[in-house]
């Protein structure tokens, strides 16, 4: 089954669209995944920054507290150095944390509390440092002992620790998300690659199939070209044969129609001659008719007139019969064929049953092959063909032996079926094998009624069905009619119209 152009174009377009969709899907998914990775990464950076600024603030505050403690214990300025440094840095650290945490509402809401705690803590630190500076170291120790500083520091540690722990969790989740995205990207690429390979494979298969079909079609065209000449020759031969048949038919018809015409004209003249003889007698008013006149007139009335009239009448009748026979054949040739499935076996069995009485009367026997084919053809034509053949077999059976009729078939492939209709009748002489199919022509002793129409009719019917009929026969032995029948008449009709 070759792919049609439309089907090829359709499947190619489907494959192209599928390939395009696969590619777009891969590109889209990759872009989406890459942008997702970017987002994750940016978030990770932000979270890291929040975490580090939180850690920095805590460590700065710890530095400040360390400096304060050292200064409170020793009272030496050198110990106060970390405190001073931290005091300078803490605002910057706070600002950084605020800035970084602004992007995270969960952190941002903690910032005012942290700022308050930082302010409190710085105030507490400053109070103790100022007390030591003003020489009231004991007050400072008391202030430290109140535990207010430590509590503030603990609160700060909690707040900032929460932020850091949360950031750690976010970082971890971010890494997992990024890893997932990378994995997804890899799978997308793999699936996309498979899809593209499938599309390419499909396209390759279709192209290969299409190419193969084209090659097959081209080979067919080449074969057709090669046989074209032969077929033209066959057709030409058929045409020549048909033309010769038409000429032969016209010749027979004109000859056979002319023969009675000669009679009619001839006997009309004879009638006129006889009339003269009668007139010589009947209209001889003045002088009495001579003995010769009387004799002639008597003969005219008793012999010539009835004979002439008889021949004129029989010739007219014959002409009418010929014209009717020609009309019948012409009508059959023009009859619309009804193409249908015909079981030849049933058809022949029916034909045999119709003549069964006549056959069994003379101890005859009809054998019908089991393997007769079923064809697509015109039933009525075939019924007439086999009806004629059965009638002929009975009509021309040999008086020396009981009638045997057998019908067999063989399949000849492209040529169609050959059906052989054999009888053991009196046979047909070799020189008449073609003549029996001609209109108004018969063979052998003319001891049976008939007009010589049957086989001419059968042949014209068979040729109408795209087949033919020929005869094989030996005088005195029997006759075999070989019918060739195409398996499907509708194809024959189509090729005739083409």
């Amino acid at each position: 089954m070759p792919i049609s152009n439309a089907a090829f174009v359709r499947s190619t377009i489907i494959l192209l669209v599928a390939g395009m969709i696969a590619l777009l899907g891969i590109v889209g998914t990759s872009l989406w995944l890459v942008s997702k990775v970017q987002t994750y990464f940016a978030e990770l950076v932000d979270v890291r920054e929040v975490r580090s600024s939180a850690a920095d603030l805590l460590s700065t505050l710890k530095d400040a507290e360390t400096g304060q403690r050292g200064f409170v214990i020793t009272g030496e300025v050198s110990f106060r150095q970390p405190y001073d440094d931290a005091l300078k840095a803490v605002a910057e650290r706070q600002r950084l944390l605020g800035e970084k945490a602004a992007g995270f509402p969960a952190y941002a809401e903690r910032i005012p509390e942290i700022n308050r705690l930082v302010a409190d803590k710085l105030a507490e630190l400053a109070e103790t440092v100022v007390a030591v500076e003003s020489g009231q170291a004991a007050n400072a120790v008391t202030l430290v002992k109140t535990d207010r500083g430590r509590l503030l520091m603990d609160q700060l540690r909690d707040q900032l620790g929460d932020i850091m722990a949360d950031a750690d969790r976010r970082l971890e989740a971010g890494v997992i998300d990024t890893l997932w995205s990378a994995g997804a990207l890899r799978w997308t690429t793999v699936i996309g690659a498979i899809a593209i390979i499938a599309v390419l494979g499909g396209a390759a298969v279709i192209v290969a199939q299409y190419t193969r079909d084209i090659v097959v079609a081209r080979r067919e065209v080449e074969t057709l070209n090669a046989t074209l000449e032969k077929r033209v020759d066959e057709r030409t031969e058929e045409l020549i044969r048909a033309n010769q048949e038409v000429q032969r038919f016209a010749y027979i018809v004109t000859h056979d129609l002319r023969a009675p015409l000669v009679n009619i004209m001839g006997f009309t003249s004879e009638l006129q001659a006889s009339l003269a003889a009668i007139q010589g007698y009947v209209l001889a008013d003045e002088k009495p008719p001579s003995a010769d006149d009387i004799l002639e007139a008597r003969r005219a009335v008793s012999e010539d007139l009835p004979e002439a009239i008889g021949f004129i009448r029989s010739s007219t009748k014959k002409m009418d019969g010929l014209i009717n026979a020609i009309l019948k054949i012409s009508r059959d040739g023009r009859r619309e064929l009804k193409i249908e499935r015909v079981d030849i076996k049933t058809l022949i069995e029916t034909g045999a049953a119709a003549v069964n009485h006549q056959v069994s009367e003379s101890d005859g026997e009809i054998t019908i092959d089991e393997k007769l084919p079923t064809v697509i053809s015109d039933r009525l034509s075939l019924e007439q063909v086999f009806g004629n053949l059965f009638d002929n077999a009975i009509k021309y059976q040999s008086p020396e032996r009981p009638l045997r009729i057998s019908v067999t078939a063989r399949n000849a492939g492209r040529a169609g079926f050959y059906i052989e209709f054999t009888d053991n009748g009196r046979g047909i002489a070799p020189e008449d094998h073609e003549r029996v199919f001609e209109l108004f022509r018969r063979s052998g002793t003319q001891d049976r009624p008939g007009e010589g129409i049957g086989l001419a009719h059968v042949r014209s019917l068979m040729r109408n069905l795209g087949g033919d009929i020929v005869v094989k026969s030996e005088l005195g032995q029997g006759t075999t009619f070989v019918l060739r029948l195409p398996p499907d008449l509708s194809k024959v009709v189509r090729s005739m119209q083409a």
């Binding site: 000669v262 004879e270 010589g452």
Partner: protein
């Protein structure tokens, strides 16, 4: 018409009895009074001329002239002509083809096969009667060989 002083028999092979009658009438009018043996089909005619065994011995010692129509119901007149002209006993019999056929090739073929005269039957009766009478006159003067 005679053959060595003996009566010649005219064998008329003509399937149309009307034609046969008209031919006979017009031959008679030409003064030919020989016996005319009519046959309406080829088989019976050959039975008479060549004998049932088709050997031709049946005609030995006869003086025959054959009037032959080409279109016969049971066999072609050409086949009859061929059979008569290829038989050693009957090959010298004069055969006159008298038929409605005026096909050029048919005429040639008959002469090739040994026909002695070929006459086309005219449809017009005047011409028909005239042609047959001429033929009758011709019959009255020709010599017929004896069949061996």
């Amino acid at each position: 018409m005679n053959g060595l002083g003996k009566e010649v028999t005219i064998v008329m092979i003509e399937d149309d009895e009307g034609h046969a009658r008209l031919i006979e009438k017009n031959i008679r009018r030409a003064g030919v009074h020989n016996e005319v043996v009519p046959f309406t089909n080829g088989t019976e005619a050959l039975d008479f001329v060549l004998g049932k065994d088709r050997s031709g011995l049946a005609s030995a010692g006869r003086f025959l002239l054959i009037l032959l129509d080409l279109n016969l119901p049971d066999m072609s007149g050409i086949d009859i002509l061929q059979k008569i002209k290829t038989n050693t006993h009957t090959k010298r019999l004069p055969v006159v083809i008298l038929t409605t056929t005026d096909d050029e090739r048919e005429i040639q073929r008959c002469y090739d096969l040994g026909a002695n005269v070929y006459i086309t039957k005219p449809v017009e009766y005047e011409s028909f009667a005239h042609a047959i009478r001429q033929l009758g006159l011709f019959f009255s003067v020709i010599q017929i060989p004896e069949t061996q």
